[in-house]
């Protein structure tokens, strides 16, 4: 079943249109306040948009376009929502929590518990069946929340940063589990973590300020990001401008020389992407070499692995601590970021 959504909500500056193919998992990436949770709340029926429509296959979730006024209640939608917090019902055992969905769908107590036990086993939590939520660790509770959502047999699974509240030991386990159970399911997962997008999603959508700023197969978006947010996630510097031969001209009129895999027509919008490791930092301007040079003021310095990451003018450079000390870098200093043309990828925006 294909999932379609069009929705606008003026009060939150939200305007999104998206589709999911059957059995496709899409990762929603975006900064805080971009409208990611709003998106899931609208799909789940917890928040009513101004206009729009949504459907799973032939089944309409809501239709508020034009004169239509169909708004189906959350319990009829088949869109189980799993949040950052596990939100297991505190008065029910793990087993009864997982049995909640089947029970609500009309299964007998025995059937519901059998289904629940199946899903608990599926998330390696069979031994926790009789525990109360208060007796579970964060990772255990979140695994049981996954089982609870799956036991409701949703046509579309909505996951709102399921790994965000977990410690670094519990997160990898849940990520592996999700990879296993999401195979063959239609799901939307909100995440801050590039690893989740790589491991779990077929496609990513970048949401910024209530709008989709970029979407495409995970690999493409991360290798050739077009939005600054995606570039940040992929760990790349991004400069936007107009394509001009083998480079781009920025809005400030600076030419950035690079290389492109395919020939691209001049005059269209394009981006230049390069990794921080390709950037050298100089105190004076270099002339006469086929390089790009950006005059920037340093905003921050921070440790990054065994390197020092220099943030300046919206770009970043990785240099060795020794080089940083030799140059005497400090926030506020004006320096030159120099990048070889061969290290810069040019592609259409």
């Amino acid at each position: 079943m294909t999932f379609h959504l069009d929705a606008t909500l003026a009060a939150r500056g939200f305007e999104v249109s998206l589709s999911l193919a059957p059995a496709e998992t899409v990762a929603i990436l975006g900064p805080n306040g971009a409208g990611k949770s709003t998106l899931l709340a609208i799909i789940a029926g917890l928040l009513r948009p101004d206009t729009g429509k949504a459907s799973i296959g032939d089944r309409i979730l809501f239709d508020l376009a034009g004169n239509a006024n169909i708004w189906n209640a959350p319990h009829t939608r088949g869109t189980a929502l799993m949040a950052q917090e596990a939100l297991l019902f505190p008065h029910l055992s793990a087993l009864d929590n997982v049995a909640f969905g089947p029970r609500s769908a009309g299964a007998s107590s025995a059937e519901a518990r059998a289904t629940a036990m199946h899903w608990l086993t599926e998330v390696d939590a069979g031994s926790l069946a009789s525990r109360r939520p208060g007796q579970l660790s964060g990772g255990q509770a979140q695994r049981i929340a996954v089982a609870r959502a799956l036991a409701a047999d949703p046509e579309l699974l909505l996951l709102d940063e399921p790994m965000a509240a977990l410690d670094i030991h519990a997160a990898p386990l849940l990520r592996r589990l999700l990879k296993r159970v999401l195979a063959g399911r239609t799901a939307i997962i909100i995440t801050h973590d590039i690893l989740d997008a790589f491991m779990l999603a077929d496609r990513v959508i970048v949401l910024e300020e209530g709008r989709i700023s970029e979407e495409g197969p995970t690999r493409d978006v991360l290798e050739r990001p077009r939005s600054r947010f995606a570039a940040g996630l992929a760990g790349l510097n991004l400069v936007t401008g107009t394509v001009n031969g083998h480079g781009i001209t920025t809005a400030q009129g600076q030419f950035v020389a690079g290389h492109s895999a395919d020939t691209i027509a001049s005059g269209q919008d394009g981006v230049a992407a390069f990794p921080p490791s390709a950037v050298s930092v100089f105190l004076t301007e270099e002339h006469g070499s086929p390089r790009n040079s950006f005059r920037v003021a340093i905003t921050d310095l921070e440790p990054h692995g065994d390197q020092i990451r220099v943030h300046a003018g919206g770009l970043s450079a990785d240099i060795t601590p020794a080089a940083s000390a030799d140059l005497g870098l400090a926030p506020g200093m004006t320096v030159y970021f120099v990048i070889k043309a061969a290290a810069i990828a040019i592609y259409p925006a």
Binding site: H75, L81, A83, L87, F89, F100, S104, P133, L136
Partner: protein, 273 residues
Amino acid sequence: MNRRSGSGYTGIPAWIYAIASAGALFVLLPLVAMVAKVNWPQFIPLITSESSLTALGLSLRTSAGSTALCIIFGVPLALVLARTPFPGQRLLRAFVLLPLVLPPVVGGIALLYTFGRQGLLGKNLELAGIQIAFSTTAVVLAQTFVALPFLVVSLEGALRTAGNKYEAVAATLGARPTTVLRRVTIPLVLPGLASGAVLSFARSLGEFGATLTFAGSLQGVTRTLPLEIYLQRETDADAAVALSLVLVAVAVAVVGLSYRRRHTGAAPEGAAK
């Protein structure tokens, strides 16, 4: 004052304890004075006299009835006030809470002009052959009128504290609203509902003014324990004191029982984290 090892910094200045002690004494001293006044040799005969037992039985029955009514009307009221914003909500809340600050005798008069023989609804009820004023039903209504706000306030607070995150999750798992209410909302706020019900019961048990105005003081029909105590005070002070002590004992027992149950009930949930 907690000065045991392992206790943390409280931030309470020492003089606060002195004033708090005075406040506690203010509540305790009258009870002690009353206990001191009890005629112990005659205590059992006094409280087991026919009129006393009738009044006590009537009080317990009508209080149970009005607590049931408070739950039936109070739970939906609290849900509506806590969960769904609507125009006039603040006004509705103010009116539901009005009996808390209204003198009970005024409540009684209001009820009389509603359900009394010449009252707003009473006239029609009278035609249908139903007479409410000065009956046991009137006692239950009077007690419900004054006790309802206690349940609503207590439950609305519990509902707001619990939030509706669990309800939202339950709905996305396919539970229809009635199922969510029965299996998620009510169990989550059960401690708040229980304490609200206990407060309502205690308030009903002590109700005097509205009952006297709206239901009168007919032995076995509308003369509840507080009315019996007031009546006995005129003729037999010893009986009044003995019955007062019974009322205090019942109230302490009810509050104590519910307090213990809430504590043992709530402990396992928060314990592990």
